[in-house]
């Protein structure tokens, strides 16, 4: 195969020294790298920025503690305005709140840790039932049957001014 590198063909006619050409070549390469870097770093950072956003959490009001019956996990629906990237929306979700004595509470997520389906508290059978793969949890969220690897997620909570508040992660 013929050598397509051009150096041989004009070497004899050149007045330019190879070292100058080499310097210019390397300099071009270096400059190109710099240009590429100057562009690539901001651009890649820009496109990956949402990935590294710090996870914020917020306190969301669930309802009055006086309305919660004792001993039964109560379904509470919450909503709060938030942003989904650039989009303003109202985030909605469901948690279950349980209290035995009106002083200490357990706030459980309604998402099954297996595949993310919403569980439901069954009044008669007295356990949380996941409709997808028949996962079951007791009133405190511990797994009692089915494929879920661990129990329902518990949330940090507090009672303030007669209202139960739960700490939720934004975007969660």
């Amino acid at each position: 195969m013929p050598d397509h590198r051009a150096t041989e063909s004009f070497e004899d006619a050149l007045t330019d020294t190879p070292s100058r050409r080499a310097f210019l070549a390397y300099a071009s390469g270096a400059l190109s790298l710099v240009i590429g870097g100057l562009l690539a770093i901001p651009l890649v950072g820009f496109v990956l920025a949402p990935v590294f956003r710090p996870r914020k959490s917020r306190w969301v009001q669930l309802g009055h503690v006086a309305d919660l019956p004792r001993g039964i996990p109560t379904k509470l629906v919450y909503s709060y305005p938030t942003t989904d990237g650039w989009l303003s929306k109202v985030a909605r979700g469901t948690v279950y709140a349980l209290t035995e004595d009106g002083k200490s509470y357990t706030v459980l997520s309604n998402l099954c840790p297996h595949a993310g389906c919403g569980v439901r508290w069954d009044e008669q059978k007295e356990y949380f039932q996941c409709p997808c793969h028949d996962g079951r949890f007791d009133r405190h969220g511990k797994v009692t049957g089915g494929p879920p690897p661990h129990g329902l997620k518990e949330f940090a909570h507090k009672v303030e001014g007669g209202s139960l508040l739960v700490e939720l992660e934004e975007g969660a």
Partner: protein, 860 residues
């Protein structure tokens, strides 16, 4: 390492043949004098590349719809590196236009458009046109005020072409107005159609340049294709890289220091906005001012630029001059200079004539900051930027400072129904805010602080949201709930109730509340209703239950019901409370409310004789306390005389009882006091046992009277003594044998007491001289009395009394008389004892015998 690269290169070459192609391209020998001027073409390409990548990456976040375009641009701005990327894109666009212009200029001056390279020039002009198209379409995408209104103007210009203008404008806009369709089609054109065309044309352009070869220099004789020992790579490439880096650094500088501008969000209903064109349109903008009339815009903005473009387009075909040397092309160069001058002059004029933004003074700037901090912009727009609830403040300067301040401090003085809160500020701060307001005019641009966090839904930006929100709220009260707590409504409605709540709301709200309870909950917490309704809810069992509530809170019923309402049922019918056990318990808690049905006398039907439960057998003893404290209202059953009949005096004691009245009562019936008060109760005031104990009159009162007559005086008039004591029955003390003598001492200090019986001047009447002796008696006046009637002294004083003061050195005054030796005889008649007091019994004799005077014997 190099071996590895070689191996990979060989493999790629074998597979694709690309390596040799690239080498061919790179090894292109350069003609003489090709160097720095020729970097402009590749500089344009680099500028385009920068636009391409920055634009592509921004597409990851940008959404081309009116309701999201602006907020996605704001989102990009606040992301990491976001403002840098956007800044590069913004300044890169300017750079591209500048470089395209410079490239065109360079090609023109170098004469590189001449035969056979005409087509390259034509393609270059197409590329120029595409560059302007990029500018125009990209301008709209941020959807801010400038973007929107500049597009309105630009599409209007297209619309002024006769016959086809309207169609062309609608086609560009995707409808009648600049709106969502405009945005989406501009976006598609900008990110897809134009880049495709541009890239194709660039490739063709560069290929054509290579095909024809870079234009040789304009040397005398113009030798063609003199090979120069320089190749494209690395010599020209190096220059290109240097220029590219310089370009990038310049762009980075501007992007970091200035940042791409972003005006407030597009407001299609704001007709006061003044769009300023980009700098490369300024010459046209200025020319239009000189072309009035129906076709002025058409001629200035369409015809003239089109003619210019056509001129450039036809240039290579019209210009047959084979010379490329500028010196040999006077016409071309002359035209160049002319065109350049005209464009520059008009451009500069255009720049000057665009009104400048209003500059605030330092004080005004402070006021502006206050304005932002106080969030006045949430209701007030300034030049249509801001809220849409309150009047536009661009005309605030029409009011004088005093009025503005009054408005701020007390908005209700100007409009009772305003929802504007009163602004309380210390005088200094208030003055800066007023100053700011007075500096506003139609050229002021308010820079909104971009919101971070959830934005308002698009409905809230619509023109009539302030009016429309109440309809939305009535349709679905829970609509507001997802973002706002009930307290949010109160920020305005605390100062201004909804219109519905103005007339007789308390009476009629039940209709609304029963139909749609969520309506109330939009503003009021649930507990708000409970404040009244906890007891007052007229639920199904209300008929049974209302009695207890009505008993206690009659006034709440009256809010809605008239008095007769009760009688509708309760005539004849008994309340629920009058059930079993009513007879026992009916009295507790008083008789409030009985009078709704029963007359007062009704109680007497039973209560003649029948007593309340509290009246236990020992009630007479213990009723005092409860009666005093008001626990048992005696008057509910008993008349006032009832107490008196037992107590013997009015109960409770009337006001003046202590001072005066009780005396009469106590006297008349002392036992009445003792019924409640202890025996010593009287003593506390009176100072002695009351009533007077047994034997007081007969025996004991004398001693007290003697000791402290004023105590008697508290109750008894002086004449009281006289009632018993008279001539025949003097006070016991007077019975004493030595009363004549002793009374003097006892009477001392108690003269008024003596006077009670004896009268005021009774002493004198008896004594013959004022008794007691007046002050100064001893010194002087007594001597006169003694001289005249010494027997008066003798009534009280023994003769020896005189000797207490009078002695040989200090005789009585009478003895000083010259004639005393003579007059004393008459004086001493019958007063021998008195003389004897000093002179002794034999005094007279002693003297008289001595002097041989006869003593006339006195009688007795």
């Amino acid at each position: 390492m190099v071996r590895l690269v070689r191996m990979i290169g060989d493999w790629i070459e074998e597979q694709t043949g690309m390596v040799s192609t690239i080498h061919e391209f790179m090894d292109e020998p350069l003609p003489a004098k090709v160097g720095w001027p020729h970097v402009l073409g590749s500089a344009v390409a680099v500028a385009f590349l920068i636009q391409l990548v920055t634009g592509a990456f921004m597409m990851v976040y940008y959404v081309p719809t009116p309701d999201h375009a602006y907020e996605t641009v704001e989102y990009i701005e606040q992301l990491a590196f976001g403002s840098l990327v956007r800044g590069l894109h913004h300044f890169g666009a300017t750079a591209m236009v500048v470089l395209v212009g410079l490239h065109l200029l360079q090609v023109f001056i170098w004469g590189a458009y001449k035969r056979p390279r005409q087509m390259i020039w034509v393609i270059g002009l197409a590329l120029l046109g595409l560059t302007f198209a990029f500018s125009f379409t990209g301008y709209l995408l941020p959807w801010d005020q400038k973007a929107y209104w500049a597009t309105v103007v630009g599409t209007n210009i297209a619309g002024c072409i006769p016959y086809v203008g309207h169609f062309l404008r609608s086609a560009l806009r995707g409808g009648e107005a600049v709106g969502a369709s405009t945005l989406t089609r501009f976006f598609t054109i900008h990110v897809f159609a134009l880049p495709v065309f541009l890239e194709l044309l660039i490739v063709f352009h560069i290929y054509q340049v290579r095909h024809h070869g870079l234009t040789p220099p304009w040397a005398v004789g113009e030798p063609e294709n003199v090979p120069k020992p320089q190749r494209f790579f690395p010599h020209q490439i190096f220059k290109d890289c240097v220029v590219a880096l310089a370009l990038l650094l310049v762009l980075l500088y501007f992007a970091l220091s200035h940042g791409a501008p972003l005006e407030p969000m597009a407001n299609p209903s704001d007709t006061t906005y003044l769009p300023r064109p980009e700098w490369y349109f300024l010459p046209v903008y200025e020319v239009l001012k000189y072309l009035p009339g129906k076709y002025g815009e058409f001629v200035g903005a369409i015809v003239i630029p089109t003619l210019g473009f056509l001129g450039l387009l036809l240039l290579p075909y019209v210009d047959r001059n084979p010379h490329r040397l500028p010196r040999r092309r006077p016409l071309a160069m002359g035209l160049l200079v002319l065109a350049f001058t005209i464009i520059t002059v008009f451009g500069v004029q255009g720049m000057k004539s665009t009104p400048a933004k209003t500059q605030l003074s330092d004080v005004g700037r402070l006021g502006e900051k206050l304005f932002v901090d106080l969030r006045c912009d949430s209701c007030h727009p300034i030049n249509a930027v801001g809220g849409n609830v309150a009047p536009d403040l661009a005309h605030a300067a029409k009011r004088d400072a005093k009025t503005l301040e009054k408005l701020l401090r007390q908005p209700t003085a100007f409009n009772e129904r305003t929802i504007m809160p009163a602004t309380e500020l210390p005088p200094g701060k208030m003055a800066t805010l007023v100053k700011f307001l007075q500096e506003l005019d139609e050229h002021y641009e308010y820079t909104r602080v971009p919101q971070v966090g959830p934005k308002k839904p698009y409905s809230h930006f619509e023109e009539n949201w302030f009016l429309a929100h109440k309809f939305e709220m009535r349709k679905d009260p829970t609509y507001c709930e997802s973002c706002h707590k009930p307290a949010f409504c109160q920020t305005c409605h605390r100062r201004r109730r909804p219109d519905s709540h103005l007339h007789k709301w308390l009476r009629y709200h039940y209709g609304v509340a029963t139909e749609n309870p969520a309506y109330c909950q939009a503003c009021h917490e649930k507990s708000f209703c409970d404040a009244c309704h906890a007891q007052m809810m007229h639920t199904e069992d209300w008929t049974a239950r209302h009695g207890a509530v009505a008993n206690e809170k009659r006034e709440l019923c009256k809010e809605c019901h008239r008095d007769e309402t009760c009688k509708l049922c309760h005539t004849g019918a008994r309340p629920h409370s009058h059930g079993k056990g009513w007879l026992e318990s009916h009295g507790t808690g008083g008789i409030k409310g009985c009078d709704t049905c029963h007359e007062r006398a009704f109680c007497q039907n039973c209560h003649m004789g029948a007593k309340p439960k509290s009246h236990t057998p020992d009630w007479p003893r213990i009723h005092g306390g409860p009666a005093k404290r008001g626990q048992q209202k005696c008057t509910e059953c008993h008349s006032t005389s009832f107490c008196n009949s037992c107590h013997g005096t009015s109960m409770p004691h009337p006001r003046s009882f202590k001072l005066t009245k009780h005396m009469q009562v106590a006297k008349r019936n002392p036992g009445a006091c003792l019924r409640c008060h202890q025996q010593d109760f009287c003593t506390q005031c009176h100072g002695l046992e009351l009533p007077h104990p047994k034997g007081w009159r007969a025996k004991t009162h004398g001693a007290s009277a003697k000791e402290a007559p004023q105590v008697c005086g508290r109750c008894h008039a002086p004449a009281t003594c006289g009632k018993c004591h008279d001539q025949d029955s003097p006070p016991a003390s007077h019975d004493a044998d030595d009363w004549n003598k002793a009374h003097g001492k006892q009477g001392e200090g108690h003269e008024p007491f003596c006077a009670l019986c004896h009268g005021k001047n009774s002493c004198e009447a008896c004594h013959g001289l004022p008794m007691p002796h007046p002050t100064g008696w001893r010194t002087k006046p007594h001597s006169q009395v003694v001289t005249k009637s010494p027997e008066l002294c003798g009534r009280c004083h023994k003769p020896t009394h005189c000797a207490k003061c009078h002695d040989a050195d200090n005789p009585p005054e009478s003895h000083f008389d010259d004639k005393y030796t003579k007059s004393h005889a008459a004086q001493s008649k019958g007063q021998e004892a008195l003389c004897a007091a000093c002179h002794g019994k034999t005094g007279c004799d002693d003297c008289h015998k001595k002097n041989g005077v006869e003593v006339s014997k006195a009688k007795g």
